[in-house]
């Protein structure tokens, strides 16, 4: 414990950092300085450059322009090992654990790698590795047993993996710990523990940089806010001096974030009714009604069963038991085409791998579901009609290009998502299940997607949005179902609920279960 009596001084400084990925200008001249023993909260919407700036500090990406100053030493770029050598430790959003190594190795191997400055032909000091890992793991509140130490990381539950990733970051003598959304799958108690860890780091004169969407946590921890928007740092200062509305406005650059898109209200007619829907170990006894013109939100932690429920409705991984009826007719969903035939359209979460043919044109993607309708004599496709339909869909979805021959890969994330939704509209579904509709989508596209959602609801479609983007649900839904450990634990009114209410429901009974 090096007690630095000297006044806080600048540990890391970024000077005019730019980063381009191909044609995308992800960072546009970022200036930033971090001091030892301070806590920072890096805030901003998805795609604003937060992750990129972290990766530059960690040495994972070289900047395209600009300088990095560490302890007064100037660098044009860092390698991962240099960055670690200076004591910059990162808890990545994807955790970046090595799945096939043990917990102990994941936590404590880095120490010996950094000491040898990356030299690999060295013997591992196992006793020391064990000591380092034990200390770090118990600091994050894990019960350190020999089984835990030797468990292969891929066999751990997500929350434990997150704690292991945090333990790795504090295992060495860090000087800056960067945490990219470290609390997403943690329970309240674990979050409290993390806050203790942060204050301990702070007292050891370590700087901490948080990246998070959870504003309550930022206010609780305190420190400085750094707000990013479109690859630039737009504000920096003590977090107490900003209200939540201030921060939201700074992040989005406009005051749309609190606006509620949902204006209409559902009709009285029940469109779809689900009861006793179960899949052992995933979700249990789920039942709800969806009315015509209703927008229903479903949320929960990533392992709450919400994803599996969506896949079951879509017939991709059918439920083991339960009944589903549409317009009072019982139907059976065993495959994806059963669900399409029943009028249910499903837009997957991962549009790149599950939904779109990236190298194919917008036109080919949009008509992919109606090929049978376009087929004429001997199965020859009526291309002219197809293109007409594709043009209509593109216009409906307000794509930013009129050229339907462009490959989908040339579009932005938001526009790709619109192509995907548009494709499903071509079969006029009665029910549309949207899974994470705006993941990785820019603000402008979000706006367009939300407006489309509302228009579809007005036309009488029933929509289900499965998402963990809480503002999105609050802005768009009539009702929000919250899932926890496979069950629907709460049914909230979208117009009156708050983010806090949803969080409570998401985490609440997990807390009970753990206690």
């Amino acid at each position: 414990m090096t007690q630095n009596t000297q006044k806080n001084r600048c540990f890391l400084e970024l000077r005019n950092i730019h980063k381009r990925f191909g044609g995308v200008h992800a960072l546009r001249g970022v200036d930033l300085s971090l001091e030892a023993g301070e806590v920072y909260h890096l805030l901003g919407e998805n795609g604003c450059g937060k992750s990129t700036v972290i990766k530059i500090m960690a040495g994972a990406h070289p900047p395209s322009e600009g300088q990095i100053v560490l302890d007064g030493e100037v660098f044009n770029e860092l390698t991962p090992i240099q960055s670690l050598d200076f004591g910059i430790e990162t808890v990545y959003q994807d955790l970046s654990l090595i799945p096939n190594l043990s917990v102990m190795e994941n936590v404590a191997l880095g120490e010996q790698l950094v000491e040898g400055h990356g030299r690999l032909l060295r013997r591992i000091d196992r006793a020391r590795m064990q000591k380092t890992a034990t200390k770090a793991l118990s600091q994050v509140g894990l019960d350190v047993t020999p089984e835990l130490m030797s468990t292969i990381v891929s066999e751990l539950p997500l929350a434990t993996r997150q704690l292991v990733a945090i333990a790795r970051a504090i295992a060495c003598e860090a000087r800056l710990v960067i945490m990219d959304e470290p609390t997403t799958s943690l329970t309240r108690r674990e979050v409290e523990n993390l806050i203790d860890v942060v204050s301990r780091l702070r007292s050891q004169n370590v700087a901490v940089l948080f990246v998070t969407h959870k504003l309550e946590e930022c206010y609780r921890i305190g420190g400085h806010a750094i707000v990013f928007r479109d690859g630039q740092c737009v504000a920096q200062g003590p977090i107490e001096s900003y209200s939540r509305a201030d921060l939201a406005e700074l992040m989005t650059g406009r005051q749309i974030s609190e606006k509620r898109y949902r204006e209409g209200s559902p009709s009285e007619d029940t469109l779809m009714s689900l009861s006793n829907f179960s899949m052992p170990g995933r979700f249990n006894d789920v039942g709800f009604d969806l009315r015509k013109g209703e927008v229903l939100g479903i949320t929960g932690l990533s392992d709450s069963g919400r994803n599996e429920l969506a896949l079951a409705i879509a017939g991709i991984r059918p439920a083991a038991s339960g009944t589903i009826s549409i317009n009072d007719k019982n139907i059976r969903i065993a495959t994806a085409s059963d669900s399409i035939d029943a009028g249910i359209a499903y837009v997957p979460e991962d549009r790149l791998s599950e939904g779109l043919f990236l190298s194919k044109s917008i036109y080919q993607n949009e008509v992919a579901l109606i090929l049978r309708k376009l087929a004429g004599f001997m199965g020859i496709l009526d291309m002219k009609k197809g293109k007409e339909i594709a043009r209509e869909i593109s216009a409906d979805m307000r794509l930013n290009t009129a050229d339907i021959e462009l490959p989908v890969s040339s579009l932005s994330g938001g526009n790709q998502q619109r192509v995907l939704i548009g494709r499903w509209l071509s079969i006029n579904p009665e029910i549309l299940v949207l899974h994470g509709p705006t993941v990785g989508v820019d603000v402008g596209s979000k706006d367009a997607i939300y407006q489309t959602i509302q228009k579809m609801a007005e036309d009488g479609m029933g929509l289900i949005i499965v998402s963990d983007d809480l503002p999105e649900l609050l802005q768009n839904c009539d009702r929000i179902l919250v899932m926890n450990a496979g069950e629907v634990v709460s049914d909230l009114n979208g117009a009156s609920a708050s983010e806090d209410d949803i969080y409570q429901a998401m985490l609440g009974s997990v807390q009970e279960g753990a206690a």
């Binding site: 994972a60 991962p80 040898g116 835990l148 170990g281 997990v510």
Partner: protein
């Protein structure tokens, strides 16, 4: 399936959950953690079956035959294991062995007939490393899957050997190489009066196995190799020099291939440029039978050695129970499918819920 589902159910933060998880699984868990146990079981089962069918199997000479026949395949297999662990694959090692063994034999005959045997081995290892490092360099810089790269270099090395070095059999080995193959470590008299001997070169295999085990388990390089096989992006992000790891694994496999080539020549007292190439699939099969996943990041030296033994035993002893040699492939094929199906189902159960 349901047991895996419920034990994956989150009791977040409570890692005692993972302790229960281990207890509950018992045998299945052991097999998932130590897949080489399946290989061992299979090996023992075959040996028992053969011994019952033909008691002549149970004599020291069988062991010696198997030991002798394992050396070349075993050395190759250790190299393949290291590359598989790093998430790559190599099919050029037989061509590396053929090229080095033939070139060195020629070199010894034409230029240095009195070169001591250890120099022969050193040159073979150096040649193997050079060719292996070329593989690693190409895989790393071209970012092309190693299968493609090594298919290319296999053709290149073998084509180069046949086009530029020579195509004729060399029956008259230089003295030191010829004698080395005949020095024996142990000698036995069999029931029918013939002598069988375990040659000294057999020791190369256990030595290489122990060295490989030490590198993989006890050095940072070993952990870096497994990391690379588990997640290449993360490995680079954590500060490991991924380029060095690539050069090392392919260089190491090349060194073992060079060794194997010389052993092959001295054991057969013949340098045939058409030998070895074509056996790579059997070697890769042995490693996979030993529990290494073809997708990388797993495996063990013990497993690899058991896999080699399994393949060698099937190759050598089925004849003793009257199964024609043409059937050996059917057996090896069946074992591979059996083991693969087994390992894959275990893995599926272990895949964490996302």
């Amino acid at each position: 399936m349901s047991s895996a589902g419920t034990s994956n159910k989150p009791a977040p933060g409570h890692v005692s959950a993972s302790g229960q998880l281990q207890q509950r699984r018992g045998l299945g868990d052991l097999i998932a953690k130590k897949p080489e146990m399946v290989t061992l079981g299979l090996l023992i089962a075959i040996c028992i079956a053969v011994a019952i069918a033909n008691p002549a199997f149970l004599q020291p000479s069988t062991l010696i035959d198997i030991g002798r026949a394992s050396v070349v395949t075993g050395l190759f297999a250790l190299g393949v294991f290291v590359i598989l662990a790093a998430g790559g694959i190599d099919v050029s090692f037989t061509a590396i062995a053929a090229l080095t063994m033939y070139s060195i034999t020629l070199l010894a005959i034409n230029h240095a007939p009195n070169m001591p045997i250890y120099v022969v081995f050193l040159i073979a290892v150096a040649g193997g490393i050079a060719l292996g490092v070329l593989n690693g360099f190409l895989v790393y810089t071209l970012r092309v899957p190693s299968l493609i790269v090594t298919i290319g270099t296999q053709y290149l090395f073998r084509g180069g050997l046949l086009a530029f070095v020579g195509t004729t059999w060399i029956m008259e080995l230089p003295g030191q190489m010829g004698t080395f193959g005949r020095i024996s470590l142990l000698e036995f008299e069999t029931a029918n009066g013939a002598t069988v001997s375990l040659p000294v070169y057999f020791l190369i295999l256990p030595a290489a196995a122990i060295l490989t085990w030490w590198i993989m388990r006890r050095t940072l390089m070993g952990r870096a190799i497994f990391s690379l096989g588990g997640s290449p992006d993360v490995t680079a992000r954590l500060g490991y020099n991924v380029k060095i790891v690539h050069l090392f694994v392919f260089g190491y496999a090349g060194a073992l291939a060079g060794l194997a080539g010389i052993v092959h020549v001295t054991a057969n007292r013949l340098a045939n440029p058409f030998d070895l190439v074509g056996t790579e699939i059997a070697v890769i099969a042995a490693v996979v039978l030993g529990g290494a996943r073809i997708t990388g990041g797993t495996g063990s030296v013990i497993g690899t050695m058991l896999g080699v033994l399994l393949v060698v035993v099937v190759d050598n002893v089925l004849v003793m129970v009257g199964i024609p040699s043409t059937w050996q492939r059917v057996f090896v094929g069946a074992f591979i499918l059996l083991a693969a199906a087994f390992f894959v189902t275990r893995q599926r159960k272990f895949k964490p819920a996302k």
